[in-house]
């Protein structure tokens, strides 16, 4: 078998027979080529989509959720319906204690984030209105902040000492500072109070609510400056990696309802946004896509390989006489069989490799066209090498199996009958 495989005559043989039916061979090869091409393109695209979603969520803990206060919709415990709810700072410790799924809870407060009046921020003659957030350092565990070199985010000492420091956005920097100026260490004015800039955060365009002009100051500084007391606008939270985020969300609301004396069935009192749940849905969607591309790809490859089996059957029929001559000259049935099977596998492989190259080319083109797009969830479309090897193995396997049919036909004709055929 191996001798046959590495012999020049075998290949001369295969090329001879391929050249005799050039058009038919090309059309057949396109069948398999198309199959593997579809497979590679589809699975690469779905991987790209996967990566794209991954990128959209990379700065945010994938199992994070957010809770804010609204108004009650049911009367309870002597309170009227429509009572305006307010989250308090001590809810943080309470939630950590009552909801075991939670890993981090970050209280947040802001001016300008949800309606409200944005703060007036200025430096020298330049000024603008920007959203101000009062935050704890723990926030970066939930929504990572990408700080430019030389700067930092708010730390515990800032909180403890109620320091007047701030982290500004890229755009804030552009609008308040000259290009040559170093923002870190400089002072800016926020609602007539001076704050020292300790860092500049890079805009990453994900997560949804934040943008490149946000200004972060320590939570304690915020509440002193704006006299907000224990008020918290919303909690950003992250559940443990293996926790059930849907259950966590339910537990959080239940706990808050108990603490804030809200009717257990009141669905309106607290609003929430469960990023983890959405992320899981997206994940499910892309694994569905993966499965679909696998099924479609394999089915198309199968159809192509059957086409090759078909052409070989015809080719064997046309070559009956030639195969008869060979057997009269001493070719054993297994040698004849090996020749046909090698031909089948060879055609399949050539078509497969061409399909892989073509598919990769298309994926590379798509990648090139979408590389700068931040809005499209599509990044780095790749096909794992084991999938490609798997597809090749599948094709060789199928090529051998399908080759067996014409090969068996070729040896089932007696040489004497083959020679008699004109």
């Amino acid at each position: 078998m191996f001798r046959t495989l590495f012999d020049r005559d075998t290949w001369q043989e295969i090329f001879g027979s391929i050249q005799k039916n050039r058009l038919r061979t090309i059309v057949t090869v396109i069948g398999v080529l198309w199959g593997i091409f579809i497979y590679i393109t589809l699975s690469g695209a779905s991987k790209g989509l996967d990566n794209g979603f991954e990128r959209q969520f990379e700065q945010v803990a994938i199992n994070s959720l957010f809770v804010w206060a609204q108004s009650t919709s049911l009367p309870y415990d002597g309170f009227r319906t429509g009572r305006r709810m307010q989250l308090k700072l001590d809810d943080q410790a309470y939630l950590m204690q009552r909801v075991p799924q939670l890993q981090y809870v970050a209280p947040r407060i802001s001016r300008g984030a949800f309606g409200g009046q944005a703060a007036n921020v200025g430096r020298g003659t330049k000024s603008g209105n920007y959203t101000i957030y009062g935050d704890f350092p723990i926030l970066v565990k939930i929504a990572a902040k990408d700080i430019y070199e030389g700067g930092r985010f708010i730390n515990q000492a800032d909180i403890d000492n109620q320091r007047k420091v701030c982290v500004i956005g890229e755009r804030t920097q552009k609008e308040l500072f000259e290009k040559s100026e170093e923002p870190v260490g400089a002072f800016i004015e926020i609602d007539n109070m001076y704050f020292q800039v300790i860092g500049v955060h890079r805009f990453t365009g994900n997560g949804g609510f934040e943008n490149d002009s946000d200004v972060y100051i320590p939570f304690t500084t915020f509440r002193k400056a704006y006299n907000t007391g224990d008020k918290v606008d919303w909690f950003a939270m992250a559940a443990y990696d293996n926790a059930d985020v849907v259950l966590a969300e339910k537990n959080i609301k239940a706990a808050l309802k108990v603490k804030h004396r809200v009717h257990p069935d009141d669905e309106r009192a607290f609003g929430s946004f469960n990023l983890g749940e959405i992320f899981n849905k997206v994940k499910g969607f892309s694994s569905g896509m993966n499965l679909l591309s696998l099924v479609v790809g394999i089915a198309t490859i199968l159809a192509g390989v059957i086409g090759i089996g078909n052409i070989l059957l015809i080719s064997v029929r046309e070559r009956t006489k030639e195969l008869g001559i060979r057997r009269a000259l001493g070719a054993t049935p297994s040698e004849v069989r090996a020749q046909i099977i090698i031909e089948s596998v060879f055609l399949t492989l050539i078509a497969g490799v061409m399909g892989i190259v073509l598919g990769s080319f298309v994926l590379a083109t798509i990648n090139y066209l979408t590389v700068d797009s931040t809005s499209l969830p599509y990044t780095n479309p790749t096909v794992p090498i084991k999938f490609i090897l798997g597809a090749l193995a599948l094709m060789v396997g199928l090529g051998t199996l399908i080759g067996l049919i014409p090969a068996q036909r070729a040896v089932s004709i007696k040489p004497i009958d083959a020679l008699r055929e004109e």
Binding site: R3, D7, R8, D9, Q12, G16, S17, Q19, K20, K321, E322, I325, R326, R327, A328, L329, G330, A331, T332, P333, S334, E335, V411, K414, P415, I416, L419, E422
Partner: protein, 234 residues
């Protein structure tokens, strides 16, 4: 060299059975050149096919070079054919997309001879049949006589004990036929046993012995004085 006795062969044609060979006894020694003659349907081709292990007899024994040939499966038959026998067919049966040299090399390929060796040996045999300069030509670029000589070179290249020729001159004009017989006589003189099926009297007379078949039995078997084909060739 060849020893067959009481050979029977019949073909089934639907309901009827056609008894083609009805007990053939035949012996040929090494170096003989035997013409097998007979009208069509006399069973001469069937006999040759059985001798060539392309077909199997229903009954009787067949001993080739001291070895009894029986219970052949395809693989064994292929190996025997390759080792002991050379074939020349009426319709040449060359492979169209291979050059003359490659056609001659083919039996050696199945003997697992190395490529270089195959090439030298094939070239030598092509030269022996006078086609050295035509080695790289494909069959469609050769005349009928040349094709048949390529076929003879191909049959000889594996150094067979017996060369079986089925109407080798059937598709050739008489001048070319005589040239071909000259080649075959030369080969025979080198010691190779030749069995030639023909229905042409003049071709048969160029052999050393003529066997007549009629309706599946040998009706006559006599030695003849060989007519040298070379005298007809300029």
């Amino acid at each position: 060299m060849i020893d067959i006795s009481d050979l029977h062969k019949s073909y089934k044609m639907g309901q009827n059975s056609l008894h083609v060979l009805k007990g053939i006894d035949f012996k040929a020694d090494e170096g003989e050149m035997v013409a097998i003659m007979g009208s069509s349907g006399s069973g001469k081709s069937t006999l040759l096919n059985i001798l060539g292990m392309l077909d199997e007899a229903d009954a009787g024994t067949y001993i080739l070079d001291g070895k009894e040939i029986k219970d052949l499966d395809e693989t064994k038959a292929a190996i025997y054919r390759n080792k002991f026998l050379g074939f020349v067919f009426q319709s040449f049966n060359l492979i169209a997309y291979k050059t003359a040299l490659e056609n001659v090399m083919l039996p050696l390929y199945y003997q697992k001879v190395s490529r270089k060796e195959r090439q030298t040996r094939a070239q030598k045999f092509l030269e022996q049949v006078g086609l050295g300069p035509w080695a790289t030509h494909r069959p469609n670029e050769l005349s009928g006589g040349q094709k048949q000589r390529v076929a003879i070179a191909r049959a000889l290249v594996s150094k067979p004990k017996v060369l079986l020729a089925d109407e080798p001159t059937g598709a050739l004009d008489s001048k070319t036929s005589y040239e071909l017989m000259d080649v075959l006589q030369t080969i025979n003189n080198q010691g190779i046993t030749l069995l030639i099926v023909t229905h042409e009297e003049d071709i048969a007379n160029m052999c050393k012995r003529i066997v007549h078949l009629r309706d599946g039995i040998i009706v006559s078997d006599k030695k003849v004085t060989q007519v040298k084909a070379s005298q007809y060739v300029e």
